[in-house]
């Protein structure tokens, strides 16, 4: 049964990109839109003045500390789902275990908070 569902998903993955490709490609194939490119038109927009330098430079990413916290959280949270699905059939001990697990996560969050990792500079 599940195999059929996944075949449907596979078909959907093919259909879904075709839908947006059509309205983008059709006007160009049918020449509905004008094509009069010139040098000034193809310039990168920067408030009307001439573009200064490249956008592909090394740039300070302010949220890399958030990203580290996110990475840990996201991986740990995936462990919650098998537990949540089976929760009603599990003994009381499962609840205690998960509270401990979430508490460890919470301590990690508190540590990051205390260290100032959650402040936006």
């Amino acid at each position: 049964m599940q195999q059929q569902e996944w075949i449907f998903i596979a078909i959907f993955f093919v259909i879904a990109p075709i839908l947006p490709i059509m309205p983008i490609a059709l006007p160009q194939l049918l020449r509905l839109a004008p094509r009069r490119a010139n040098k000034a038109k193809l310039e990168t927009y920067e408030c009307g003045v001439e573009t200064v330098g490249d956008a592909w430079v090394q740039f300070k990413v302010q949220y890399y500390l958030y990203a580290l916290v996110f990475l840990i959280f996201d991986i740990e949270l995936l462990f919650l789902f098998p537990w949540a699905v089976a929760y009603n059939q599990l003994p009381l001990f499962a609840f205690v275990v998960m509270v401990t697990f979430i508490a460890v996560l919470g301590v990690g969050l508190a540590y990051a908070w205390r260290k100032g990792a959650l402040e936006w500079q």
């Binding site: 569902e5 075949i7 078909i11 959907f12 879904a16 839908l19 490119a37 009603n88 998960m98 969050l109």
Partner: protein, 420 residues
């Protein structure tokens, strides 16, 4: 449908493939066609809320305004900036729409109308939903434009933050229903989960809003700071795809909220097999209601600052979601729904029979757990909102003091400057 094709003498596998293909096309285009109406509705309502008339020229009540916009976009010149990375630049608008259309595959519109009832449907929509943000990142990087890149940075900051409370709040319906299939979660909602865990519903809705980049979290495309951000270099239909994806995303988050928290196609025990169309209407009706709230929020709230946005997430939503999960798990441990006992109560006559007849047997089975969770959730919300209020009062005092200090300083220096 597969059976009717097999009866016509088709090979079973071929029949299944054709039926799936047709279903996929219908389901995927449904989202895109529906959005033509949704865009009109949003503009009209936003106009009315802001004391304007909104679109009223093309067709009755401006209904054809979206078509007019569409034809304009089609006849626009398609420009690829000379400095852009062509491949990434062109893939981004396709990917952004495709990733959101993909979510439609697991949304149950009625007891049987569902694209694919995956047993990990929840995981699927979380995974696929993040693709849209990746596409926006591609757009921002591929355009080779500084504003676009800044917009993309903001999108990533929003995604990596709001993904955490979103996943935490989705774990609650999964826990209550005991399954990750979307259809299973709807089946579990004899009592809609918004009445069982309103805090989760709130967290889910807010974090989805942030991920879709809707107001008040629309600083990823703040036109007054970074000139529409990631889609600045796009023109014609490629820009149109970004715009369409934004509206589809807004509708998809309403649909997901309906499925996970508002009971999906369940409406007072109706929408069972045999009334598919009714179930579909119920889902769409509820989704329109949530969508209306989204529009209301969009047209009335100002844009929030990025540091506020991050602080609200990491210092409020994430701890709240963690505590909420523990609270709900605890309450769900005390009362496990007992369907056999509920059946006995329903057979016993009186009030039990009345409730069972009205809302179904599941309602009685779920009732003790739901009531306890609701009380616990409301208590949690009272505590959380009080903490939030306290913090905001402190913050307001701090800012007021800061302003006063600045004013005093200026008062002291001004005469000296005049004397010189």
């Amino acid at each position: 449908m597969v059976d009717s094709l097999v009866n016509l003498g088709w090979n079973r596998d071929v029949a299944f493939f054709v039926a799936s293909l047709l279903g996929a096309v219908v389901l995927a285009s449904f989202g895109l066609v529906w959005i033509i109406f949704a865009i009109w509705l949003e503009r009209k309502l936003a106009g009315r809320i802001q004391d304007r008339i909104g679109p009223n020229r093309a067709g009755p009540y401006g209904l054809f305004q979206t078509f007019a916009d569409l034809f304009k976009l089609i006849t626009k010149e398609d420009i690829t900036p000379a400095g852009a990375d062509r491949h990434i630049y062109n893939i981004a608008p396709i990917m952004v729409v495709a990733s959101i259309v993909l979510i439609f595959a697991v949304i149950p519109f009625s007891a049987t109308w569902v694209g694919a009832d995956l047993n990990i449907g929840v995981l699927y929509f979380i995974a696929v939903g993040s693709l849209a943000t990746l596409a926006i990142m591609l757009a921002g990087w591929g355009s080779n434009n500084k504003y676009a890149l800044l917009g993309a940075f903001r999108v990533i900051a929003a995604l990596i933050s709001y993904e955490v409370p979103m996943i935490l709040s989705v774990a609650v319906p999964v826990l209550l229903a005991g399954t990750m299939s979307m259809q299973g979660i709807v089946h579990g909602q004899s009592i809609a989960y918004i009445f069982v865990a309103p805090v989760s519903a709130f967290i889910f809705f807010v974090s989805q809003l942030a991920e879709a980049g809707r107001s008040p979290f629309d600083l990823i495309e703040a036109e007054s700071e970074i000139i529409a951000g990631y889609n600045i270099e796009y023109s014609g239909m490629k820009f149109g795809m970004f715009m369409a994806s934004e509206f589809i995303h807004a509708f998809v988050i309403s649909l997901l909220t309906v499925i996970l928290f508002l009971g999906g196609w369940q409406f007072l025990g109706a929408g069972h097999p045999g009334s598919e169309l009714f179930g579909f209407i119920v889902v769409m009706g509820k989704a329109m209601l949530v969508y209306f709230v989204v529009i209301l929020i969009r047209s009335t709230t100002p844009r929030i600052r990025i540091d506020h946005m991050m602080a609200f997430n990491w210092k409020f939503l994430v701890p709240l979601a963690l505590v909420n999960l523990i609270v709900v798990a605890f309450c769900a441990r005390i009362f496990v729904p007992d369907y056999a006992a509920a059946q006995a109560v329903a057979d016993g006559g009186g009030l039990g029979a009345f409730l069972a007849g009205m809302f179904g047997v599941g309602f009685i089975a779920e009732l003790p757990r739901a009531a306890l969770c609701l009380v616990a959730n409301i208590g949690l919300w009272v505590v959380a909102s009080r903490l939030l209020r306290q913090y905001s009062d402190q913050e307001r005092d701090r800012v007021r003091q800061l302003i006063q200090e600045r004013r005093d300083q200026r008062g002291q220096t001004a005469p000296a400057a005049a004397g010189r």
